[in-house]
């Protein structure tokens, strides 16, 4: 039997479409909890704001543009992502202490929330890396890949606009650009 969507699914849909009114509702509902938690754990208000925003981007990267059903509260997911990210930052600052706290925290989390948070953070890292290495491609590659993906024009129109002899030449170039992009990703991506 398929899982029933959680009412908070509307918030993720809003995040995906940039619906400001509902995104503000996400902040109104969940930001304060994160702020209180972060300030109780050696962080500043600015850290909390940064973490919350980062967590929303992780949720965006994980769910937007894919088929999914949210089965638990977005608030719980955001809090888990923020905790995980905060302990990672602590671990970078004071490695030993941070890792200990991180481990303690790990075993206090609900497994399902933890797994969802891990998946979101991993997806965010992949998307961030793709974004970084995309900028290393030639301008022609970037423009062509973006135009083809947008689907607003036919391949023939794109080929003509970018100066390719025909659609076939454009496809060959697209494969070369994609291969280069993929190679750059493998060279730069670090999971941990």
């Amino acid at each position: 039997m398929p899982n029933e969507p959680h009412p908070d699914q509307q918030y993720i849909t809003a995040l995906c479409s940039g619906n400001e009114a509902l995104i503000r509702e996400i902040y109104a509902k969940y930001a304060r909890g994160v702020q209180i938690w972060v300030t109780q754990n050696n962080g500043e208000v600015a850290d909390a704001q940064d973490l919350f925003q980062d967590a929303l981007m992780a949720v965006y990267d994980r769910y937007c543009g894919r088929e999914f059903v949210l089965t638990s509260s977005l608030g719980a997911l955001l809090m888990t992502i923020c905790r995980r990210k905060w302990f990672d930052r602590l671990a970078q600052k004071t490695r030993e202490e941070g890792v200990r706290k991180w481990e303690e925290n790990r075993y206090n989390e609900e497994d399902s929330e933890w797994e969802a948070a891990e998946a979101a953070i991993l997806q965010q890292k992949r998307q961030e890396c793709l974004s970084q290495v995309f900028k290393l491609l030639s301008e022609q590659c970037q423009k062509m890949l973006t135009m083809v993906a947008a689907g607003a024009h036919s391949v023939e129109q794109i080929a003509a606009e970018l100066g390719f002899a025909n659609a076939n030449a454009l496809y060959q170039s697209k494969h070369r650009c994609t291969a280069r992009w993929r190679q750059l990703f493998y060279e730069h991506f670090k999971e941990n």
């Binding site: 940039g18 300030t39 109780q40 704001q49 929303l56 890949l145 993929r182 990703f185």
Partner: protein, 239 residues
């Protein structure tokens, strides 16, 4: 045909049934191919969402500044360097602390002063079940007993947000402060009246925990229409 071309063809839905079945069978046993397919999907997703993602990255900081606020009056005070001055200040501080400790021991705590709750009334709302024991326990300040009964009531009546609020109060009185705070934070601006109460009790839970910074911050953010505005101002002056 190279893997990348096969993946591209698969994602475009351009394979015939046999080719697709063969490709999917290979995916199940070839981790490298599966990883390459996953990456290709991520690349396409990145390209489709690129503009929107960049726009969201700009939109969030602008929204976030309205919801994350630094507590007012937080200042960093530099300690005097001279040892003599330091010792004098420390002695004075110790004397003041002793004065307040004696005063504190002889008078109700700030928390006790402000932690006054309206009586709980469940019986009139609950048809078919007798919750008078929960009422009696709460109204006679037996918070552990009341909390256990209220937890049962809330499980059976999840839409009764007022009862949830009282459960939070019981947790706070039992010193289960994090559980209490989690309950008070559940109330949203859409539940205007109850949220005013939840915010006030949230501030009291920080007061009880000795966390003055967060207590002050919550008090400063109470809504202008909160019935606790005057008490909040009074408490802020004492913190």
């Amino acid at each position: 045909m190279e893997n990348s071309e096969r993946i591209d063809k698969y994602l475009r839905g351009a394979m015939d049934a046999d080719e697709k079945a063969g490709f999917e069978a290979q995916l199940a046993k070839d981790a490298e191919l599966a990883n390459a397919l996953e990456l290709q999907r991520d690349m396409e997703l990145f390209l489709r969402r690129k503009t929107q993602r960049e726009s969201l990255q700009k939109q969030l900081p602008a929204i976030g500044k309205d919801y994350f606020q630094q507590a007012q009056g937080a200042k960093v005070i530099t300690m005097p360097r001279q040892r003599r001055l330091f010792l004098a200040a420390a002695s004075l501080a110790a004397a003041i602390a002793l004065f307040f400790m004696v005063r504190w021991a002889l008078s109700p705590s700030l928390f006790e002063t402000y932690a006054q709750y309206p009586p709980l009334a469940l019986t009139e709302k609950s048809a078919g079940a007798d919750w008078s024991l929960a009422e009696t326990a709460f109204n006679s300040k037996k918070y552990t007993e009341a909390g256990a009964l209220l937890a049962q009531y809330v499980a059976q009546n999840p839409l009764d947000r007022q009862a949830l609020l009282y459960l939070g109060i019981c947790k706070m009185e039992e010193d289960k402060l994090q559980e209490a705070q989690a309950i008070f934070l559940e109330f949203t601006p859409g539940e205007a009246d109850l949220k005013d109460y939840a915010d006030w009790y949230l501030a009291l839970s920080f007061l009880k925990a000795g966390d003055k910074a967060n207590c002050r911050q919550v008090l400063q953010q109470l809504s202008n229409t909160s019935p606790f505005r005057h008490q909040a101002t009074d408490l802020l002056n004492k913190l």
